[in-house]
């Protein structure tokens, strides 16, 4: 998973470099349609890669294991923010360039992929660490005061605890 996240980040830098180099080489504001198609295709691939990475991250969260993928999430956030920025900028440029002409299918496709990426990032499940940290003090006080169950006791006694220490399901 960390390899995939790194790949997303590297790819976002590559697309940025490609787009910016192309802009520098075409300061006459007469973009070549084939170039725009090519950059759009790269942007589409970048968006799809990131959407896939967010999906895999969520599948990994919904599994048993150590940690909560904080490092991976940070890399994906960075790659996604950069990609939204670059692709958004390219789309605006391409839409302006195509004004008065029929929009190309690749630009329409890119617009949809960009929306999917924005949605994947916004909907990503994130762990509220401040809420978890807020539980620590009381838990430790309970343990110090002997207010705890062993897991075996809890398995046996859960039904009788409902309505007392826990709300009834």
């Amino acid at each position: 998973m960390s390899l995939l996240a790194d790949r997303c980040l590297r790819r976002s830098f590559l697309v940025q470099e490609m787009y910016e180099s192309w802009q520098l080489a075409h300061t006459d504001h007469h973009p070549v349609a084939a170039d725009l198609e090519e950059i759009a295709a790269e942007c589409v691939e970048l968006c799809r890669l990131l959407v896939r990475a967010w999906s895999i991250r969520e599948d990994r969260l919904f599994s048993t294991g150590p940690g909560v993928l904080e490092d991976i999430t940070a890399v994906l956030d960075r790659a996604t923010t950069k990609s939204l920025d670059i692709v958004g900028s390219f789309l605006k440029f391409a839409e302006d360039a195509a004004r008065g002409y029929q929009q190309s299918e690749s630009i329409d496709l890119l617009r949809r992929e960009l929306a999917s990426l924005r949605s994947a990032k916004d909907k990503a499940i994130r762990i509220d660490f401040s809420a978890l940290r807020g539980q620590v003090e009381q838990s430790q006080r309970d343990v110090a005061a002997g207010n705890y169950w062993t897991i075996e006791e809890l398995i046996d006694q859960w039904p009788s605890l409902e309505g007392q220490h826990v709300p009834k399901a």
Partner: protein, 95 residues
């Protein structure tokens, strides 16, 4: 081979689990997973407070799946693990 560590669940955590409003089957599965899997879980992924490690447990039901994230204190006692924080998320099961 070191003896299996016992898991303690403070009253505050029991109350929080109750507040999740989960079906009885999900709670049963969660408690069983804590019993079976937590003592075997790698503890190298530490919180910023390094007395605790972080772990996830996954419970799959027919139409919905759940994951729980926990801070686990393994530093206070060599023989015990104590759950000091728990969070819950769920989603529809992908078909």
């Amino acid at each position: 081979m070191s003896p299996r560590r016992k898991v303690n669940v403070p009253k505050a955590i029991v109350t929080i689990i109750g507040r999740f409003g989960l079906e009885r089957e999900v709670v049963n599965s969660l408690l069983a997973a804590i019993h079976a899997e937590l003592p075997e879980m790698p503890s190298n992924d530490r919180c910023d407070d390094d007395r605790f490690f972080i772990s996830r447990l996954h419970i799959r039901r027919p139409f919905r799946e759940h994951f729980f994230v926990m801070f686990v204190d393994d530093s206070t006692s060599p023989d015990h693990l104590s759950i000091t924080a728990i969070g819950h998320e769920s989603r529809d099961r992908p078909h």
